[in-house]
Amino acid sequence: MAIPSESDSSTGTRVPHRLWELLHFTPRARRKLVRGALVTIIFLAFNGVLAVLFGVTILNYTIAGLSVSSIVIVAAIGLTLVYGMRGFANFAYGDIMSLGAYVALLVNINGLSLIWGAILSFAVLALVGILLELIVFSRLEGRGAVPPIVASVGVGLIIQNGIRTIATTTPWIYRVEAIQEIPIVPGLGVHPIRHILTPAVGLLFVLVTHILLTYTNLGKAMRATADNFELAKATGIDTKRVTYATWAVSCAFASTAGILLGLYGLLKPTMGFEVLLLIFAAVIVGGIGSPWGAVLGGLVIGLSQEMSAPVFAWLAGPDVIGLVNASAYKVAIPFIVMIAVLILRPWGIAGRAPAFTGRVFFIEKIAKALGRRPKPTGPLEDESGG
């Protein structure tokens, strides 16, 4: 009597329960979701206000920001994966992106379509990543952060100047059909490649990363290894294989980011190095080692850089301060955002503060220097009152 009813109730609650689990809606995740929705609504409202105040054409900057963000996100995920696992900043990452773009170009100018170029470049760069770890970076394990940075700069110099020697310094362009912008309203249009394909690829890569890291054994092993190398090893994870896999994923992502970058503009030997700062800023803003943080950081960096352009354009006006070449200064915005995050939240906007961190160390220091003492906190008053 009791048995079937129990099994009934369990089958009744189990299916939605498992679905719930599948979506990973823990209370923390739910809070984050609500916060994310709130930020999205505020952002959309902000854009609405902008459109009302300055006309609809101002939204072009938002669209550009979203597509730049997509490129930065793909690259930042790849960079942050290796950063989290090996604990050093890969300064060669920009040049690895250029390499990916040029490998695709090589396929592309030999008559195949760019899709094939992207697939082939994805595979080749994954191999390059494994080789880099095998030949260079595995020898520098356990030597701290600086020696691998130096070695990665060496790798970057070799790749960048190798491209210069072989492909010359003249800019290249992918052989794709010229596509016109699709106008939505007069003055506001979307380009099928820049503004639709790029964000779509970015979204695809975010989803793939999420699935890889949440549902596959490899992804779980990657997260475990990045979190605590020794413990992961003790649990029986083949950390060596996981490290190689991470390098492969990282460099493969770099190739796609490089191709998107090449589609956005021209292919130059320095194309990747020029956006390296942007990607580092995204990684740091999001919190080093956190792929979800990299997505958030990429959005913040890409949008803030592109949406600062009208502000600089306004500064260029002769009656304001008449700034020459004003649009060039937008590259300083990611740097400023990054420094602000380093001052206020060095663990990133998405990360959790490490234990025993003073609230805002730097600002407290200034306050102390100015002679202000922190006020006695609430609990003390409560005690005296009771």
Binding site: A151, G154, N161, Y329, M338
Partner: protein, 330 residues
């Protein structure tokens, strides 16, 4: 007849000497950069990836301070300047500006892990270079600042030779002074704290040293040295522009110099500068004799060699060719 031939030979000789003098004076500038970086990284463990940025700030500050007014003409937008200050004042201003910039970058990042500092300084250098490229009313943009005066003004047929000799002499004097000064302060208790910070920061804190302040001081002093190198660079080249001379490759070259010479070793940094810049100088000389297909890619091949050197040295010989002297407690 004979005198004329002799004069020609002499002219060629001074030509070679001027060229060699150029090599020596640029090597000295790199040596000063390497000393600054060595103070930051080799002695204190602060990894600076923005050497080119502090170098640029020093060079532009000096050039703006000491250059006589250049009226804007066709094709030249003119720049901030015309102050015609004495050279020494220019040097002090350059050091102050670079040191201040270094302190400002270090303030939020020096308390974090080494890689944050590296990223922040690299980013800083790129932003500074972008500003120098675009802030035309101050820096004259891509054209750069021209008309920087020589250290001493000579005239006559030997002027080039005499100018090169002055550059070398002044540079060597500054380098010797810096070497002695740094040697002195690094052997002092202050220098001992720096090495302690590099070896074990927490232990240093535990014995009551404010490591944050020491790191900030060292970063600012290193930045000021790079500013001084910028001043000397402006006076030697008489012309500065942002794209070539202050590219990130300068930073990476200085790394190689310090790693080749041995981090934490003043003599090594200077020797490294002469050797590695010698490589670059030779590659420029080779341009005339190299086969055609190689001619254009020589600078790229040189940078690839620099990259390979960075990798090989950091893997197999991180302590450099001249090791840091082992110190034993007495």
């Amino acid at each position: 007849m004979k005198t004329r031939a002799e004069a020609e030979r002499l002219a060629i000789d001074t030509g070679i000497l001027v060229n060699l003098g150029f090599y020596v004076s640029i090597s000295i500038i790199f040596a000063i950069l390497a000393l600054g970086f060595n103070l930051q990284w080799g002695y204190t463990g602060l990894f600076n990836a923005g050497i080119a940025g502090f170098f640029l700030i020093g060079a532009y500050t000096a050039a703006i301070a000491i250059t006589p007014p250049t009226p804007p003409s066709t094709g030249y937008p003119g720049h901030l300047g015309g102050f015609q200050l004495p050279l020494a004042v220019g040097a002090l201003l350059a050091m102050a500006m670079s040191g201040l910039a270094a302190a400002l970058v270090a303030l939020p990042t020096v308390r974090l892990r080494a890689d944050y500092l590296a990223i922040a300084t690299l980013a800083f250098a790129e932003v500074v270079r972008t500003v120098a490229l675009n802030l035309e009313p101050v820096t004259a943009g891509t054209i750069g600042i021209v008309g920087i005066p020589h250290i001493l003004t000579f005239s006559g047929p030997d002027a080039a030779f005499l100018n090169a000799a002055t550059d070398v002499g002044v540079g060597a004097a500054i380098l010797a002074g810096l070497f002695l000064g740094l040697h002195f302060i690094l052997e002092s208790p202050w220098g001992r704290v720096l090495r302690a910070v590099r070896e074990d920061e927490e232990a240093t804190m535990a014995v009551g040293k404010n490591t944050f302040r020491y790191k900030l001081q060292v970063f600012a002093i290193g930045g000021a040295l790079m500013g001084l190198a910028g001043w000397l660079f402006a006076l030697t080249l008489l012309y500065i522009e942002p794209s070539g001379s202050f590219a990130p490759a300068i930073t990476f070259s200085v790394w190689v110099m310090v790693i080749v010479g041995g981090a934490g070793n003043l003599r090594g940094a200077i020797a490294g500068a002469f050797v590695i810049y010698g490589l670059e100088w030779l590659s420029v000389q080779l341009k005339d004799v190299a086969p055609d297909f190689l001619k254009d890619s020589i600078p790229y091949i040189r940078l690839m060699i620099v990259g390979a050197l960075l990798i090989i040295l950091i893997i197999y010989r991180p302590q450099g060719i001249l090791r840091e002297k082992k110190r034993v407690l007495r």
